[in-house]
Symmetry: C2
């Protein structure tokens, strides 16, 4: 048995995971990063202990614990080098958590996007040599698997797929650069595009939904578009083209055997996937001769927990 | 001793290369692809024989021959799967060339950009785990070395770094997609940008140079900018920003230990490199904490010959 922990800025989700990557039981707590590194690490260890207890297990049943952490991670040493949203700089997360396990459970630290990518990679069983996972969530993240190994880049700084430029000189991204894929293809990007369309089209179904629910979210434009609203259809068409153009670039760069799309927006399924496939077949460097398979990811929010557990198992 | 061959659409350049990657003697002939695959392969074999003879060697002194070929290459089998500019589709280049060597010299086929990248990688001796080579030439090409191996992508289709989108919906690229890095950062892109500026600024030093020499080339704007011409300085500033933005994206994606810039434009040296470094330090995901070293490539036109020879040596 393994424990996988998906450490986020808001919540910590953990699960007991079996040899095959199935979650036996999961549990989550708020992160509250303001309490500081040591208390968050302690809370994660406690969460593990609770899961072990609630499953009627003991610490000796757990082969290792894997943590998917935001930021730049040195997985060899178990250090989080830089996680801005947690205000963690060069913290020994592995060492700090291991202090709490008296039976000597090994803790493995991996970047969260890498862990999720590895989870999808292992669970979908493609067993391919080159694999890309891209998430369309609050931001746009990604993980790259090359020769069956997570590609981390020099110093663990790689695979920031959301921060490739899509529009030179375009919208300002949260990273400070102009025109990043993330600024257009993330849920936040889509919400901005929806808001602009609502301002221009006061009679659109999006405007009605906004007035009714009091908020714009990643579904506002998709729902209205599916109901035939013209302004919403244009928002969705343009949004999907941003996503598809980014994916097309990633395929031209990596020519992966498989590219999976995850994150909240991926729940749109074929409604999202079909036009992406169409765009890519037309625009990839080798057009429909490019052998990459593009598909929707399978694990949803569990990818982080499962992937963290399986990276710990691998190590 | 090895022989490296840089097969281009216009010329075939070949050289005898020693164990350390030094060219002993080189020679080139026109490709004349219209004569067909078998004759071109035969001419490459003959070129090898001439080099061997002129160096006072015999075929048994040559450990192997490496060819850097344009297009999609299956290097395991020595097949060129698709080389549009040569009109080669699934041709057994290795088999065809080996027929001509009675002493059984082994021929190794590699994609030309990969071979050049491998040459730069080996000769500069960085010996790093992740390395990117990007060429600013007629097109924008590139090679990726990961874990000391050429990264080829699934089916040998990867590392088309010039065909990542830089300007969504922008200029049409030779590949058919809109807004590729190649359309902006190649010599052809720079010439287009220079031409537009000349039309708008009839009194610019670029216009004078154009009238004098009857052509616009990759140096027109750079030369005028260095002489203080304002319109040319703007062309160069914008051009370098395109290049830098593309390089910044590549670094965010790969976080390579070293990224080298080659191709004709790279002869501008520090005049090109300094603003690229400045742009990247400001705009990379981790800003000046990103550990990538950016530098100008060293081998110039010889990278293809040396790299082809060294990939053959490796295999």
């Amino acid at each position: 048995m393994y424990i996988g922990i998906d450490l986020g800025g808001t919540n910590i989700a953990a699960g007991i995971v079996d040899e095959n990557g199935n979650i036996i039981k999961k549990k989550s707590i708020p992160t509250r990063p303001e309490r500081g590194f040591k208390k968050v690490a302690g809370a994660m260890a406690l969460l593990c202990k609770e899961l072990i207890l609630e499953c009627g297990l003991s610490e000796s049943d757990i082969s290792s614990v894997g943590v998917g952490s935001p930021g730049v991670v040195d997985s060899e040493r178990g250090i989080v080098k830089l996680a801005e949203n947690l205000k963690w700089y060069d913290v020994d997360l592995k060492g700090e958590m291991e202090k709490h396990f008296l039976d000597g459970i090994n803790v493995n630290i991996e970047n969260d996007a890498n862990a999720a990518a590895y989870g999808e990679y292992m669970m979908l069983g493609y067993n391919c040599d080159s694999f890309i996972f891209i998430t369309l969530g609050t931001g746009v993240g990604g993980g790259v698997i090359i020769n069956k190994e997570i590609y981390r880049g020099y110093g663990g700084c790689g695979a920031e797929l959301g921060h490739m430029t899509l529009v030179h000189g375009g919208e300002k991204c949260t990273c400070g650069k102009l025109g990043c894929l993330e600024a257009y293809a993330s849920v936040s990007g889509l919400i901005n595009q929806t808001r602009t369309a609502i301002e221009k089209n006061p009679s659109s179904a999006m405007t009605k939904a906004y007035k009714e629910y009091g908020e714009i979210n990643g579904k506002t434009a998709f729902t209205a578009a599916k109901n035939g609203d013209a302004a919403a259809s244009l928002v969705v068409k343009n949004y999907i083209e941003y996503v598809a153009d980014g994916i097309c670039s990633i395929i031209n760069i990596f020519a992966p055997e498989v590219l999976l799309i995850g994150g909240g927006i991926s729940k749109e399924g074929d409604y999202l996937l079909n036009p992406i496939n169409e765009y890519c077949r037309k625009n990839m460097f080798l057009k429909d001769k490019t052998p990459t398979k593009i598909a929707i990811a399978a694990l949803g929010n569990d990818a982080g927990i499962i992937g963290a557990a399986l990276t710990a198992k691998k190590r």
